[in-house]
Symmetry: C2
Subunit: 120 residues, 2 copies
């Protein structure tokens, strides 16, 4: 998984990590703080790993404060996702009727070109 966008999507594909981001949207937090809601379900090293995934995806940044590692949300990477999403906005924002109509024009154009299912 080389590209940044894939790494970001992969990082978001886990409810634990998304919950961590939600917590961080309230302000920065240390690892222990972030871990607290999950320690019934997993160990601290598991939390460290999740944070490392988020960090490598550029979704958070970790700093240092004595023995603590305050984490904060990095919004820019989420903007990349948002930008990617934009091209599809029409597919949910238009009324379903208008979308259907739009798709009909596209596909009927293709049929006009021969309904050849991709054959040369």
């Amino acid at each position: 998984m080389e590209d940044e966008l894939s790494k970001t999507f992969a990082a978001l594909a886990d409810p634990t990590r998304r919950a961590m981001l939600a917590r961080l949207s309230k302000g920065e937090a240390s690892v222990t703080e972030l871990a607290k809601p999950f320690l019934k379900d997993m160990s601290l090293p598991a939390v460290t790993k999740h944070l490392k995934v988020l960090e490598k995806a550029g979704l958070i940044t970790k700093t240092r404060d004595a023995q603590w590692r305050p984490c904060r949300l990095n919004g820019e990477r989420l903007k990349d996702v948002s930008d990617w999403m934009e091209q599809y906005r029409v597919f949910w924002e238009e009324s379903l009727d208008r979308l259907e109509a739009y798709l009909k024009t596209v596909t009927s154009n293709q049929k006009a070109k021969g309904k050849n299912h991709g054959k040369k």
Copy 2:
């Protein structure tokens, strides 16, 4: 990976699958048609698997037309992603200065409560 949102994000975490969605945003296409740009890099069964991932994530729907399986984009699932993203919009849309200021108020509030790093 139980929840729908995780499944959707995971499906999006692959450039091949995102390219397939991009193609489908131009109109419906058969499996062979969708596969064409990738057959230098992977086999047809691999394509079938990618499509299955997209389908299970609810991002596309497959229908039947003789021996063809026309696929089309399903925008609703992308809306779920977009809705989830909304809560973070402030983290990239505000000017960086204003975001910094916002975070300062949040964290200074925490410090006022004792800078206790999550201790009870």
